[in-house]
Amino acid sequence: MGKTATKSEMKTQEYFINMGPQHPSTHGVLRLVLELDGEIIKQVIPHIGYVHRSIEKMCEFDNYRQIVHLTDRMDYLSSHMNNEAVCLLVENALEIEVSDRVKVIRTIFSELTRLASHQLWWGVMGMDMGALTSFLYGFRDREMINDIFEETCGARLTMNYNVPGGVMFDLHDNFIPRVKKFVTHFKTKLPEYDNLLSDNVIFRERTEGVGYLSKEDAINFACTGPMARASGISNDIRKHKPYSAYDRVEFKEITSEVGDTFARYKMRILEMWESLSIIEQLIDNIPEGEIQAKTNALIKLPKGEFFQSVETARGELGVYAVSDGGKSPYRMKFRSPGFSNMFALDKMARGSKIGDLVAMMSTIDLVVPDIDR
């Protein structure tokens, strides 16, 4: 037996935990190295890149029509918006005028995708907090949207409905009645979401006042989307740089000054209401028109640099393309919302507990393929 250490001789050591790459609440293959002092987090070191598929390199070999198909593999939950970003970039570069019908269809689809993404997020957020029932509730409503997508474009998740110059097919005959049915259905279900999670005492206790991100920090981290708006930044691309039919609908940009986990949660719940209202405004007056503008089979962009951003469910997706006049871009860069939002996690998580970290990661709304590209 060695001699017993006196108090001054005893040393404490940080406890490192590898959270991931396989872990129930990292939503994919993300690895976080946590430096812990008991339950308290001292540092979070994210390691990303486990699903890096070199989409940017692949873009340099593909033509623009093919690139559209690559983008919905990035943020598969807002696949429609990702497609739209590339299509808008091409259309703006070639100055193609798309018809009003296409614009409205794209907007409705975008909002439906946003709703579907937020529903999934809401379910998963509950599950991360230990309330397993919300997961199934979220999926119940999401299923209706996926069915609508399936009917019109054949796919449920990675839809590829957009093509440069328009959309691939015209709307299915059932589309309008089904969307209307969904909107009335979901309006009764959204208060249920509030009953189950938002107004729950335990949920409030766990989310309010944790994971604080100030406005200055959020700007500095270049956070976008609901996460930034919860910190008081008004940066909704739909409002500030309207594309498609967003300039002709009335909707509020939801912001909050609080900046904690609950504020980020509430942002998305309120955003769902706004999305419903946008759909309601458009669904009854979809103008007639061509669904595709005339484009060459092989699209060639003029020489130059182009940048297009859209508001996905997670934030701003920026597409930066350099063209040398050929059929493929010379350089393509995707500014994915998750990449910047994820970087703020360390700042938010320091000093909070492991349970809080899981809740925070939920409110960032991680989609790892979006971060890794």
Partner: protein, 153 residues
């Protein structure tokens, strides 16, 4: 602030900068790597410009030279501009980091280092971010060749 005014302002700060906006989506400023950091700091901190939001940072390889492209935005007015650092060499491209100006740059710069081999001086944690630590070469460079994994057609 309109582009004309912004152009004269930037030229007064940095006479060597090439500023152009005609026919372009955003006002674009091209500077040499050693001039980048002071100009970026001015663009961020000056009350007239106040480009406090780094939307996007990308590297680019133009075979003879390399570029780092900064898409900047003023969060309050939603004005946007593009700042470019033109690095004349491809052998050991170096540019000063801007992650002390915009925190968001830290990961973006790691990505540019990872995929282009651009070294950001004074970066606090310059490691590969997306690829393995022992990856050889910089995949997004135009002369990168990987006969096994890259399919050309």
């Amino acid at each position: 602030m309109d582009n004309e005014k912004l152009k004269s302002l930037i030229e007064s700060w940095e006479p060597e900068a090439e500023v152009s906006f005609e026919g372009l989506q955003f006002l674009t400023v091209v500077v040499s790597p050693d001039k980048l950091h002071p100009l970026a700091e001015k663009l961020r901190n000056d009350a007239q410009t106040n480009f406090n939001f780094l939307t996007c940072l990308s590297g680019a390889d133009y075979k003879e030279y390399m570029e780092v492209v900064y898409h900047l935005r003023c969060q309050e007015t939603f004005e946007e501009m593009v700042l470019k650092a033109k690095i004349p060499t491809r052998v050991k491209p170096e540019v000063s980091t801007v992650c002390d100006i915009w925190w968001a740059a830290e990961w973006h710069e790691r990505e540019a280092y990872d995929l282009f081999g651009i070294v950001f001086l004074n970066h606090p944690d310059l490691r590969r971010i997306l690829l393995d630590d022992d990856w050889e070469g910089y995949p997004l460079r135009k002369d990168y060749d990987d006969p096994v994994n890259v399919v050309r057609y």
